[in-house]
């Protein structure tokens, strides 16, 4: 990892689980942000959405996902109240496995609309597994000062982790 990466904050979910993780008071002193997440959801399914929002806003999001699950591949285009086509391991995946996910946000503190790119993969010791490439846009000119990761109606299990990195261009 480049030496311009700084871990701003990290969190590990405790024994009680968590419905959401929110990074707040994000400083505007970096060029870009990188969010790395490894979580598991309690929903009874192989995978589960992990909606992400900025500044507690529920408007202005659009996204495109290229997705494969071991038997089929598809492309999804969506405009909604969050960046929602991001998937995590859920309860029907192999026990004690977690997904790998990262979201990159360039120029997060500028006055332009905020573009994002993400990739993720589930860990599942079986034929079915989910991986995806994701492009997103938040049509809002405000600097991003908070990021919310949701379990989308369920919970993130103990040992789920999320780390927010700040990246400077010098």
């Amino acid at each position: 990892m480049a030496n311009t990466y700084t871990a701003i904050a990290t969190v590990t979910v405790g024994s009680g689980g968590a419905a959401n993780i929110e990074f707040t008071s994000i400083p505007a002193t970096y060029t870009d942000l990188l969010l790395k997440v490894s979580v598991r959801n309690t929903a009874s399914a192989l995978d589960r959405n992990m909606p992400i929002t900025f500044n507690s806003s529920s408007t202005g999001y659009s996204e495109r996902l290229l997705y494969g699950n071991g038997s089929s591949a598809l492309s999804i285009n969506r405009a909604s109240s969050d960046l929602g086509y991001l998937y995590t391991n859920a309860a029907n995946s192999t026990s004690n496995t977690f997904n790998n996910f990262e979201l990159y946000i360039p120029n997060y503190a500028g006055s332009n609309y905020k573009s994002t790119s993400a990739d993720y993969v589930l860990e599942n010791n079986a034929t079915a597994a989910t991986t995806g490439l994701h492009a997103g846009l938040w049509s809002n000119s405000a600097a991003i000062t908070s990021i919310t990761i949701s379990a989308d109606g369920f919970s993130l299990v103990q040992y789920s982790t999320a780390t927010l990195y700040g990246i400077k261009n010098s």
């Binding site: 009680g16 419905a19 959401n20 400083p27």
Partner: protein, 73 residues
Amino acid sequence: MSHKLIVDCSTGVTTEVELTAEEIAQREADAAAFAEIKAAEEAAAQAKADAKASAEAKLAALGLTADEIAALN
């Protein structure tokens, strides 16, 4: 589960906060929507499997062997 984790990036401090009534309502709505989506996905998968079995049976009735039918997949 009725709390969220808030990480203050200016201090590095993580606090556990109870969800508001509005957040709990949204959470319940999300879970209900998920159940509907999964039911629709399962119904669609079953319909697809049924159609495949029906098509294979019709091909077999036309005289195709199992290997010939498998080669079409």
